[in-house]
């Protein structure tokens, strides 16, 4: 068992270092980013820890090449360079070759709020979701980060782990949708580290709140079995609407209404703090409450 930290990114590094110690079939490939975490792992496993420098196309295909020899690669850099810059390598190196691995991107939609658009990847989940059979994780705490990294390494196939600084207070164990609250009205689905704001936003309302940190595959059976009124609210801290198709598929035979909240398509062109970006996208508690109220009043 890995010792838990408070910081999700440090946790990713610590769990990954432990996994490298425990499982000889694993390898870590990274591109300078997070090097400060991996000095010991690099010295302990020089053949299984590879820094490719600032070369993201190579980063992803080196991971895929390791997988072609039967190894289980963990491939890491900022989400924007891992998924968006090198997307064809993800699509062809992993998905089309038919090999698996664990891609771990940090930064998410607005950890790098002060760095501007170049370091923000709100479209990463939508891009990964365009590929077949990808498992996508958005852990909301350090404990969940430890859990999903270990699960992603132990399972087969291609996994994407989205590690961000924003966190929830409570950790949940296991994939699928967790029931946080039961109510007789709308169902609010919180994906990843938006749960605390969702819970604050729905305070005093008779709604069901579901939460998942492993967001693909989407847990349609649990969602359907708990649906009260056919009013659904999705809250995800990446591109708005990314998971709308999952709700549509789950409710293909149920007339329903859907409010899909997430980051907006329009570029903010503002710097400032992650909290300010969250607010600008309407993803803080007040913003979620405003959207929810007008949706349920309609």
């Amino acid at each position: 068992m890995t010792i838990l930290t408070r910081d999700t990114r440090a946790q990713f590094a610590r769990t990954t270092s432990d996994v490298l110690d425990e499982d000889l079939s694993t390898a870590l490939v990274y591109a300078e980013i997070s090097a400060r975490f991996f000095g010991d792992a690099q010295r302990a496993h020089p053949d299984r820890v590879v820094n490719v420098g600032i070369r993201e196309q190579l980063l992803v295909n080196v991971g895929a090449g390791l997988a072609l020899t039967g190894m289980r690669p963990i491939v890491h850099t900022f989400g924007t360079f891992l998924v968006e810059r090198a997307f064809e390598q993800v699509k062809l190196g992993f998905a089309h070759q038919g090999v698996g691995g664990v891609l771990v991107g940090v930064g998410g939609s607005f950890d790098a709020s002060r760095s501007g658009r170049t370091h923000q990847a709100p479209g990463d989940v939508a891009l990964m979701d365009s590929l077949p059979d990808v498992t996508i994780h958005a852990p909301g705490t350090a404990a969940e980060t430890d859990e999903v990294i270990r699960r992603a390494v132990a399972e087969d196939g291609l996994h994407y782990v989205r590690v961000v600084e924003q966190t929830n207070r409570e950790s949940f164990r296991g994939a699928g949708l967790h029931v946080v609250r039961r109510g007789s009205g709308a169902t609010v689905i919180a994906l990843g580290p938006v749960l605390d704001d969702v819970l604050e936003a729905v305070a005093g309302r008779d709604v069901t709140v579901l939460y998942a940190h492993s967001v693909r595959p989407f847990d349609a059976p649990t969602f359907r079995s708990l649906l009260a009124t056919p009013d659904v609210v999705l809250v995800e801290p990446w591109l708005a609407g990314t998971s709308a198709r999952c709700v549509a598929d789950a409710l293909v035979d149920v007339p329903h209404r859907l409010l899909a909240l997430g980051t907006r398509r329009t570029e903010l062109r503002h710097y400032g703090s992650p909290a300010e970006h969250q607010r600008a996208h309407g993803l803080d508690a007040a913003g979620i409450r405003r959207s929810l109220e007008s949706f349920l009043a309609a």
Partner: protein, 235 residues
């Protein structure tokens, strides 16, 4: 077998008995690799210790298919109707459909980076097999190759061999640049006549110690003495 048989196998794909073997720039390199250099056979396609051949330039894979078929990796009947809906043989090869095909290729600039990862994976597992990747001269336009060739040398991947089939199809080519670029990064570089089997065997059998090696195999059209235009190579 081989030369006559391969000619017949190619005819099954082209439907044209008048084609010239010279029309296939990669044919001789791939033949020499499978007939004389690589330790891989239909019996060892799943053996972790097999040598790997990665066709990065997945365009025009007829020569590759013909050689694999000639070596017994799949039956000749597969060649009829290649590119049809139910055929395992497409205009770009798919490793999930064809025994012996190590990578699915077609989009340029992926094979060499995948080969670097493959060589690292074999080294980490203590497997001494070779990894040979074939790229085209115009394919080297893709910057991903340059990321790979720098790191392959820096990491001392001496299991790795790149064969550049140079049919002078790159735009903005500079004479001698391909060999110089590999040499600058510390690769062992040899050149060969891409039609001459003895020459190719010698070049492809040469190995560096602690450094990867590159073979620049020049293939010119015997009738014109020139190469192909880039649009044909890159389509």
């Amino acid at each position: 077998m081989s030369a006559v048989n391969i000619d017949q196998l190619l005819t099954r794909m082209t439907g044209d008995e008048k084609h010239s073997l010279a029309a296939f720039s990669t044919l001789d390199v791939i033949r020499v690799l499978y007939e004389r250099v690589l330790d891989v056979s239909p019996e060892t396609v799943d053996d972790p210790r097999r040598d790997r051949f990665l066709l990065s330039k997945g365009h025009g894979p007829m020569a590759y298919y013909a050689v694999l078929c000639d070596r017994g990796f799949f039956p000749a009947a597969w060649l009829d109707g290649w590119g049809a809906f139910d055929s395992p043989l497409g205009y770009h090869p798919d490793r999930n459909l064809v025994p012996g095909v190590e990578i699915s290729s077609g989009s340029l600039g992926h094979g060499l980076p995948l080969a670097v990862g493959t060589a690292l994976g074999l080294r980490a597992q203590g497997i001494g097999a070779r990894v040979v990747v074939l790229v085209g001269d115009a394919e080297l336009d893709e910057g991903s190759n340059h990321e790979a060739l720098e790191v392959a040398a820096a990491l001392g991947l001496d299991a790795l061999t790149v064969v550049v089939v140079d049919n002078r199809s790159a735009s903005y080519a500079v004479p001698g640049r391909i060999a110089e670029r590999f040499a600058t990064e510390g690769w062992l570089v040899t050149t060969a006549d891409g039609r001459d089997h003895e020459d190719l065997e010698k070049a492809l059998s040469e190995r560096g110690v602690g450094v990867p090696n590159a073979v620049v195999a020049t293939v010119l059209d015997p009738s014109t003495g020139s190469g192909r235009r880039n649009e044909e190579a890159a389509a």
